[in-house]
Amino acid sequence: MAVPKRKMSRSNTRTRRSQWKASRPVLVNCPRCRDPKLPHVACPTCGTYNNRQVVTPAS
């Protein structure tokens, strides 16, 4: 079985982990209530999509 020959330095570990980044979600404004929401997803604030009531908003 393949095993590491050397201990990985803290520097190498941290350089690798410096690439773990969170990405900012893309947001658009709801055409009905102007609140930011995910594109192509029903608005969580007013519960509409395409001017159609899809879900009752959680409030």
């Binding site: 009905r32 192509h40 029903a42 969580p44 159609r52 879900v55």
Partner: protein, 171 residues
């Protein structure tokens, strides 16, 4: 070589997948609209629409084909007596999928899948739903071109966004 099924596999085996799709379709025909994950909704859409097409055909052979998949006889009866005739003037595109964002807990993307032609009020069982149904029904009557499938509604999204800007006080 047979063409693989479009979309992700469900469950832990072919039997599990068949059962899940049959149960999802049963719930959809019973309630008119169900909330599920996006992957299941996308797999359910062609499955349910083929059953509705059989429901429109309405003969004994079609009924036996549906009964081979859906075990609940009362749901099959409803499919052939109410749901099938309701879609008489529509060639396909019987269901609509609307994404409703990630689920709390496991962040799974969720969606609502519903029958396009709104059912009369007697099918609705929960007390929260009649307000939604009545809100959705007049708009569906106003814009018959828009409520075909969700791809077409996505394409028509720009036009209705323009409408939304002209009448923001509508809410």
């Amino acid at each position: 070589m047979p063409t693989p099924t479009k979309g992700p596999r469900l469950g832990s085996g072919p039997a599990h997948e068949r059962l899940m799709l049959a149960n999802l379709a049963t719930s959809l025909f019973q309630h008119g609209r169900i909330k599920t994950t996006e992957a299941k909704a996308k797999r359910l859409r062609p499955y349910a629409e083929k059953l509705i097409t059989l429901g429109k055909r309405g003969d004994l052979h079609a009924r036996r084909l549906v009964l081979a998949k859906i075990a609940d006889k009362s749901v099959v009866h409803e499919l052939f007596t109410e749901i099938g005739p309701r879609f008489e003037n529509r060639d396909g595109g019987y269901t609509r999928i609307t994404k409703i964002g990630p689920r709390k807990g496991d962040n799974a993307p969720m969606a609502v899948i519903e029958l396009v032609e709104a059912a009369p009020a007697k099918v609705v069982s929960t007390p929260a739903e009649p307000a939604e149904e009545t809100a959705a029904a007049p708009e569906a009557a106003d814009q018959p071109a828009e409520d075909t499938t969700s791809e077409q509604t996505a394409q028509a999204g720009e036009t209705s966004q323009a409408e939304g800007e002209t009448k923001p006080e509508e809410k």
